[in-house]
Subunit: 357 residues, 4 copies
Amino acid sequence: MSKPLIRVALIGQGFMGRAHSNAYRQAPHFFDLPYDLDCRLLCGRNRDVLEKTAATWGWSEISTDWRAAVARSDIDLVDIAVPNALHAPIALAAAEAGKMVLCEKPLATSAEEAVRMAEAARGVPNFVWFNYRRVPAVALCRRFIDEGRIGRVFHYRATYLQEWGNDPTRPPGWKTQRAEAGSGVLGDLLSHLVDTALWLNGPIREVCSLLETFATGRDVDDAVMLLARFANGSIGTFEATRYAVGYTNCNAFTIHGEGGMLRFNLEEMNWLEYAEAAAPRERRGIVRVPVANPSFWKPGHPIGYEHTFIAALADFLFGLSRGEAAHPTFEDGRETAGVLDAAARAAAARAWVPVTI
Amino acid sequence: MSKPLIRVALIGQGFMGRAHSNAYRQAPHFFDLPYDLDCRLLCGRNRDVLEKTAATWGWSEISTDWRAAVARSDIDLVDIAVPNALHAPIALAAAEAGKMVLCEKPLATSAEEAVRMAEAARGVPNFVWFNYRRVPAVALCRRFIDEGRIGRVFHYRATYLQEWGNDPTRPPGWKTQRAEAGSGVLGDLLSHLVDTALWLNGPIREVCSLLETFATGRDVDDAVMLLARFANGSIGTFEATRYAVGYTNCNAFTIHGEGGMLRFNLEEMNWLEYAEAAAPRERRGIVRVPVANPSFWKPGHPIGYEHTFIAALADFLFGLSRGEAAHPTFEDGRETAGVLDAAARAAAARAWVPVTI
Amino acid sequence: MSKPLIRVALIGQGFMGRAHSNAYRQAPHFFDLPYDLDCRLLCGRNRDVLEKTAATWGWSEISTDWRAAVARSDIDLVDIAVPNALHAPIALAAAEAGKMVLCEKPLATSAEEAVRMAEAARGVPNFVWFNYRRVPAVALCRRFIDEGRIGRVFHYRATYLQEWGNDPTRPPGWKTQRAEAGSGVLGDLLSHLVDTALWLNGPIREVCSLLETFATGRDVDDAVMLLARFANGSIGTFEATRYAVGYTNCNAFTIHGEGGMLRFNLEEMNWLEYAEAAAPRERRGIVRVPVANPSFWKPGHPIGYEHTFIAALADFLFGLSRGEAAHPTFEDGRETAGVLDAAARAAAARAWVPVTI
Amino acid sequence: MSKPLIRVALIGQGFMGRAHSNAYRQAPHFFDLPYDLDCRLLCGRNRDVLEKTAATWGWSEISTDWRAAVARSDIDLVDIAVPNALHAPIALAAAEAGKMVLCEKPLATSAEEAVRMAEAARGVPNFVWFNYRRVPAVALCRRFIDEGRIGRVFHYRATYLQEWGNDPTRPPGWKTQRAEAGSGVLGDLLSHLVDTALWLNGPIREVCSLLETFATGRDVDDAVMLLARFANGSIGTFEATRYAVGYTNCNAFTIHGEGGMLRFNLEEMNWLEYAEAAAPRERRGIVRVPVANPSFWKPGHPIGYEHTFIAALADFLFGLSRGEAAHPTFEDGRETAGVLDAAARAAAARAWVPVTI
């Protein structure tokens, strides 16, 4: 009995294009998906690279014209993995053409764009690749919260620490140019922290912040620090930076609640740290729990970065077959964009501002 | 050849009174001090406890009248280890009486008080017990900074995490009452973070912040979050709380600079973590360095909380003999009070404010 | 320009069959291999499962007759991923048929078998899947050793700690039956430790040991402890067990030499710990170095268990194209089998015995 | 009401003499002892150093003649903190003179000596300074075991890792000379591991081992590795070395049992790690529990090396007042000496040998 087919056009062939290609190839190996996937079309700017990438990952066709790609009648799903400034035009076109739309994070380069994209995508299945929601340990956090293990939350604390901003030998790229990226760490790193926070701890009501550019002549933010008040009464600090010398890619958060604590660090992505407030004093402490996704390998056999994309794609497809939206949707992406927008406004105003979008 | 004698009156017999008593007893064991110490007088509110504490720690006399104690001609040094609201009156009286004055942290309950105390103490040797400056690993941070290993600083990040606010079985004490403590975590915990920050990273120019009280009916702050701009161009986050479920007493900071990273955590107080930005990629990472103060025991033989007080007292006395002020002085304590003052004003103003005191 | 084709028959469809299937699918995605791979035939005992597994991973044909499979003229490479007792018969048949032979670890159920297999395979490209040699951090250890960073070695210490032996709910499997597995932790876990040790620290001359079975009625060893003298003068301890409550899959080793220390733990497989003996005292400690294989993802983006198989396959194929054997070969597997043999003899003799095979 | 007086003679003024002096000074500060302590006499070889040490720590008299000291009628307790070869003659003389005897570890330089000492001391209160039994976390291990949290033990694993053997700049001392030390790491480090193991896991029945001297021309062992069978059916590995480059003073052990795991490391002496086998899978892991001795400071305020001596002395005195022997006694020290003896015999025999003393 054959499964319904989904014909995919992937726009983008950089680092993210590779991560997505891998997801399309690997999801059927680890999950009994409700659909067959047809890697139909890979779209990018550089034809030479495109041919090689398509051959490596098994994309049937290539194109350097995303507008044509999005318009093709033999494409069911458009996946956007290009620099941020192109997210909105491609997503709007794809949604208008009635395609399912998957979009890399951050959803947009501004809250206004995000609002338009979320509206446009209402009629089609959509998804934003905030991949870290699919780290098994992060998902277990959400489960513990839902089970009431944390209870009333007091503190949320998140940091995304990278150091490459301090590396003078690193060649420039689109991520440090406002025209292509829209922002610096705000969209690149803080967006991840905010997406996870909104998922685990609910809406943010107001923020104050500071944006800083350390490099000379750069037109995007190299670092951002944020204080926040959540709707549930908890308070939070966020920090994202490319100048955290000592850290390669440390995406970490801690939640302190009446019932316990949760702590995660992408550097140890196969582990969750948990403290139970009610444990007897002599056995109370932080438990380091190994967390696995049994769809991949047995417990004790670590998974890596790429598995978050594979699991995200699987969730999207399972949701699709049940008629349910997998999170995070464009609507969720819009909410994150609203917090980023408030962060930028607060920095400019040098004061607390409400989240309004 | 006998050494000059210093006759000490210790005001306070609580937890801090014990820590100071221990310092007077132990400093001569581990350091060849330039003075003999005479533990002359222990002063406190409760006579029964006072007798027992004096007997245990070898204080020659006791008194329940600090004013009389401070006025005695046979006292050279007044050490203040009582609830915060009494710091100023005792210190002012002691300074006026020409005594050396050592004062527990925070120096005062307000910046105004701190200013008056710093002025009054100008003519006498003085010192504030921000004991964590004497953790060997913290002192090594300062040395690395002075040696230029960190260079231009980008980020300073500090947290002081305790959980006892969430413990419903804990009996109330003076630390949660404004009349005695002046503030909550602001003076109790944030003051430690700020003192260390000012010492290691220089003055703070402006801050924004949030103060929160989680407990019902409490008139002091249970948590504070702070963003800061330092005079050296670096930016910082500070968080202090009594609601960090999972942590007993986690006083930690990280400094990221052009040349490297420094990281310290009181929970691992015999270690310093250091990353060197210029190390070759395949050997670059965070080094965990065991740090000892050889005046105590050999490397690998951990010291504890109390040794920070012993080393602080020794430094004060060595400084005294050389005619140099040991840090932190009342002037340093005043500077910290100025930052705490700005933190409170910023929280009220819901905006960035300059540090003015 | 097309590449030469290698037609693969994989014998085995359990956990290891999946890990190998994944390697065949993924190696071409991450490496520009010198060969095209044809996943021609999947061979196993259970036809129903076989069909499903073949469909999932894209094997063209299935078979339940490994003898026929190995004899087929349209197969170039036989990959053995079945219970240990079948390794020898399949490998001998495959080698006799002139096929390339890849074999799961341990190579054999006895040293005698291993000797015969190594002899038989001399004329064909061969390889043993001791996958952990391809952990980037383990490979970096070898590089540091080759560069002379460790110098004269004093100590080698390795543990492989699992806890599932203590889990009464776990269903029995072939790994605890002598008829299928040949041994317990000796072949299953100690073999990994020994393979890594021989690679990093050279031959073992003599051992003493203890084998223990904790479970009632089990005919294989649940735990083994080993003392060893290496040819290079260093001494070592090895311990492998399924009764290490608290650990899921902790494969770890430490090497102490005149020049420094190396430490690895599979639980943190993206990191290597290194200490440099000559570092200045105040910066000397254990450095935690993030280690990546750039063929997969960027530094800071963790890889997992499966990537060790992918990289091993790629190394085998690159070696093949250059006419060089990728390590570990059957000859290396035989050397490990010789140490396991000595371990069993020493346990029986209750005395030190030389490694003789 | 005055307490009975104990007049102490301390023989030894080196590192251990300091640690003991500190214990006599500090025990009355932290414990309400049943005795008053009179630091009457400090005995050592070098009169100049002796005067200074006595002055620093408040010993009333000094002497360079331990025989005379032990014979004095105004001495109640003789504390032995000299190189190992002198333990037996002093302890035997002191016991014969009817004094209480406290002796540094290892109790003796041979099992025969230890037997004689244990016999001689039967009539007098006696104690061996295996100080690490008083680390609060180690004591908590014993409590968890007594409470049945570990149940049937499978594995005991202990390492004592130092690196100073590899330091060519280190001046020679008595610890590397057989005439004074009796042995190398056997008595110095392995004795600590064995004492803790016997206390926590009961008697050892048989051992095999390896002793190694890495330094040229040294007549004591630099490293020892030991396999052991305990009377309770568990099996153990022990390793002690002065050539573990990377570690200053890592005294660590792990116990795996049916009910859970316990792990301790002196490098993190204020913490115990515990795993509960029966915890639900998604919350099962290793808990890091902060452990304090409330006689010293509040939880979260670390104690250090010296506190183990203070607590040991207090335990001895409390036991004395109740007519109970505080552990470890000379009899316990003899048992440890018996295991060390077996370790040396096993190394010589190159085979398993029973513990016979």
